[in-house]
Symmetry: C2
Subunit: 145 residues, 2 copies
């Protein structure tokens, strides 16, 4: 007897897909007052960690290629959150720098993170463990690709 066809509830990919979207829906009303979209927020988190880095380097951290990142950064530049500068040494390289406005959002974002953490209903240990496992999965998938 063959195993029955899995439905969406059996698929890890669906759990990741739907939970990631649920997380975005949770963040969105908290970020909107800061004038931020969810992907912009993630990019800022990376820049608060390390400012003045190349598009490629930033793309590595946020796992996005330049075809997604460049338009996103342009919108953030238009919003006054960052500046982009083309390298003098290597004119292919564009570096991304936080503006004062971009830096100033760091503290507000900390409040957002706290709100979201509370909404998960998980302990710090549970969050850390689940996060590590999900990330480990991504590394395996990327290695397989």
């Amino acid at each position: 007897m063959t195993k029955p066809m899995p439905t969406t509830d059996d698929l890890l990919c669906f759990a990741l897909y739907s939970t990631s979207h649920a997380m975005m829906r949770l963040y969105r009303p908290l970020l909107a007052p800061l004038g931020l979209t969810y992907p912009q927020y993630l990019v800022l988190v990376a820049l608060w960690d390390r400012d003045g880095r190349s598009v490629g380097d930033l793309g590595e951290q946020v796992a996005l290629e330049s075809n997604t990142l460049t338009p996103l950064l342009k919108r953030m530049e238009t919003a006054g959150l960052i500046n982009r500068r083309r390298g003098a040494q290597d004119e292919r390289v564009v570096t991304v720098h936080l503006t004062d406005a971009g830096s100033a959002l760091k503290d507000k974002a900390a409040e957002v993170t706290a709100c979201v953490f509370q909404a998960t209903g998980l302990s710090l240990e549970e969050v850390a463990d689940l996060r590590a496992r999900v990330e480990a999965l991504r590394h395996k998938i990327e290695a397989a690709g």
Copy 2:
């Protein structure tokens, strides 16, 4: 002394976001020969489980509202995978039915699932456990929303 600002590697939301995208990138070349996009595949999985259901009911299972689902179903109808019918009893309700072509993809999709499972490098138990925890998180987030 305050705890340092978390970076992307510390955020569960980023792990979900980036791993979900990595999963999509893994599926895409496997689904493309079947003429399917990733969200279309997830919808088919739900329909293979239960055919002939309303847009709203289907939306509940795939966690998508009608503003996303209706355009997606229209594209699938254009591709000959499904048919949509408006109810005679209740003219507000639209039901979605698999076509022969849509049903026929079920077996091919099983092969895709097997490929993807192998790429994760996880055991069946690990997949099931991780899936359950991620799904539980989604339920908590949705309850908080």
